[in-house]
């Protein structure tokens, strides 16, 4: 009898919380096992402290995520909270009404901690649709051992001329100067974007977006294409780079086969994960170079290119989903990922405790930036961004003229203006 009562009590205890539990569906693109483990630990911790909330974690591969999201968000299977790069895609999603505006719900203290820059990246027409979690920057990662082997002084890469000279030196030494995953196209678009950031700067970029002064067919954009072609003419990329995905290129660099990789700060972890031995380049052999400056360029030397990434709320997201995200994007949680070297948390104070020297250096450079340009393929939206990715891969393969490239971007931009 006692046993029976106990069993009954247990079963009631087992059923009851389950019935009252609020399920929050989450969708992210993380694929590095250690990063996923950190996420799972954080979620488990939150669930333990809030037994009425259950976070249902789902992950998709990066390209698949981007391709599926449009359909997914308009279906019954839509996730409540999902990863976002902001930019033009967010604008479309907000305009279509698939997102939940949460400005009345978000704790002002949370918004303040995340900073106005970060919050505005997830705000459209005065409505807050998500919370920022991390900032990222595209930097020139380099392999110190290969620089030594070829006798190249990293300081000589400060200018574009010095950079091109170094490329030639690597070629002469039989070392692949650069790795790029041009099959996925977006890794190639970092080159075009960085050149545009240097040559055009914020004012000319904003003007081009509005279609002023000839839009994206204006002189600095043509010049960016010309300089990209100048680089491509030296054949600086690894063999078969047009068939290499981001993962292939990241692994190629991680295996110590290429001297440099122009990639976001996340490549610190990805490069290890994609390398053959899962160790990648040891920290003491790894370095960061700023993108070469260009004489006569209108951009500020401190300008950076990167992203402000975070989480969006689907229109069916519950209050519990928002509360969970307030905690998940906080400095306390962000610092864990920062310390492990996965990303740079945006919440005030989160980055202070970071010990990873690369992430600290990148966080500083973003803080000091005059203009933190958001990835152009995201910022300009899928229609124009897709064309930017196209022409970048073609310029890398020396298959398009600079004028044509600029013309194609302008054409796509004019289409949606």
């Amino acid at each position: 009898m006692k046993k029976l009562a106990l069993a009954a009590m247990l079963s009631v205890a087992a059923i009851f919380p389950a019935a009252a539990q609020e399920v929050v569906d989450w969708m992210h693109i993380a694929s590095i096992p250690e990063e996923v483990a950190l996420m799972e630990a954080a979620v488990a911790e939150y669930e333990a402290a809030n037994p009425d909330v259950k976070i249902n974690m789902q992950f998709l591969e990066n390209e698949a995520f981007k391709a599926k999201l449009t359909t997914l968000l308009q279906s019954d299977a839509a996730p409540d909270i999902f990863y976002s790069w902001g930019g033009g895609v967010l604008t479309e999603q907000a305009a279509a009404g698939v997102l939940r505006p949460v400005e009345d719900l978000v704790d002002p203290a949370v918004a303040e901690a995340l900073g106005s820059g970060g919050m505005s990246a997830f705000t459209r027409d005065g409505h807050i649709y998500g919370l920022p979690q991390q900032v990222s920057e595209v930097v020139l990662w380099y392999n110190k051992a290969l620089f030594e082997q070829a006798g190249v002084d990293p300081a000589s890469l400060e200018t574009w001329e010095g950079f091109l000279a170094a490329i030639q030196t690597f070629k002469d030494a039989g070392i692949t100067p650069l790795a790029v995953g041009a099959k996925d196209k977006w890794p190639a678009h970092f080159w075009w974007s960085k050149l545009v950031v240097r040559l055009a700067g914020q004012d000319a970029f904003d003007a081009a977006r509005k279609g002023e002064n000839g839009g994206f067919a204006a002189e600095p954009f043509v010049k960016a294409g010309e300089m990209f072609l100048e680089l491509a003419a030296l054949e600086p990329f690894q063999e078969g780079f047009l068939a290499a995905s981001y993962g292939d290129a990241s692994g190629y660099f991680g295996d110590g086969k290429a001297a440099m990789h122009l990639m976001g700060d996340w490549d610190y972890g990805a490069m290890k994960d994609n390398s053959a031995n899962k160790q990648g380049i040891p920290d003491d052999q790894l370095g960061i170079l700023p993108f070469p400056t260009i004489e006569g360029g209108a951009g500020d030397p401190t300008d950076t290119l990167g992203g402000i990434n975070g989480w969006l709320f689907h229109k069916n997201a519950s209050d519990a989903a928002v509360k969970f995200m307030e905690w998940y994007t906080s400095a306390e949680v962000g610092a864990r990922f920062g310390n492990a070297g996965f990303f740079i948390p945006i919440a005030a104070g989160a980055a202070d405790g970071m010990t990873n020297p690369f992430k600290v250096q990148i966080a500083q450079s973003i803080n000091n930036a005059h203009w933190h340009a958001i990835f152009f393929d995201q910022e300009l939206g899928p229609q124009v961004g897709g064309v930017v990715n196209d022409i970048s891969a073609e310029l890398a393969g020396n298959a398009l003229s600079a004028e044509e490239a600029a013309e194609l971007v302008e054409e796509a931009a004019a289409d949606i203006r």
Binding site: A67, A96, K183, G240, F241, L242, A393
Partner: protein, 308 residues
Amino acid sequence: MTTIASSAAISAPRRARRYMDRKSLVPLLLFIPPALILFVVLVVLPMIDAASFSFFDWTGYGPMTDFVGLDNYDDVLSHRHFGTAVRNSLLVIAVSLLVQLPLAMWVSLALVEKRWSVNVIRTLFFLPYMLAEIAAGLIWKFVYDGNYGIIPTVGDAIGMEMPFVLGDKFWVMPAIMLVIVWKYFGFHMMIYIAGLQSIPSEVIEAARLDGVKKWQIVRHIKLPMIWGSIVISVFFSIIGALQLFDLVIPLSNGGPNNSSHTIVTFLYQFGILRMKLGFGGAVSVMLFIACVVITVIYRRLLFSREVD
């Protein structure tokens, strides 16, 4: 006037009686609706849907409001990669018909006998067809990989520098077509073997006794007698080639520099991924019309001959 009316009055009940016949009515009511409903819901409605996208400028989010008439069709036709995609699809059709089917025929003629060893070889040839397209694509991506694949390994062994086939504008289409032939010729081989096995052995024996040469038996007896199988397999080849998608995505993703797109990967890349569903709708309508036209012409030309 009256005669027409009366003749109509006579024939109508007669026709009605034929259909009202209880024997045929029950199966009709029982078996037609499920198939019809599935066909309408899964084929006709999406088709009408896709066709309606093609007249709107639509990102895929929210309702379609921006009617643009035939602009999307104009954009497709003037797109700088559309020509490449069409050319590649035609190339795939040509290779399917001129390389894959003759190869399948040749192999099936050799493997028609019912022997244990023949069965094993036949199964080996048929295996690629049973593999999922994505899996086959990934396997071949590793084979072709210029750093770690089989091709560079072979190249090293014979001391030759091998190209990165999937990163090379010239080699990428031959590489893809090799995979297509490898993957699908077993399927066509099976169709032919089934046809060949249905030929009565007496016919062949009689011919042989009359001193007809081996090649002549194939030419004048076997091929005409499996004409129906050939017609079907050619049809599958053409339509399959026009719809080629899932092998190309893992292999080259349409690259390098958009040089290996087929019509469907073009649709996916520039319509769906770019959130230009109107543009994608226009491509799909054009592809659909092409398929219908080919089907109609093909039926006129070849299926009718089968009846003769």
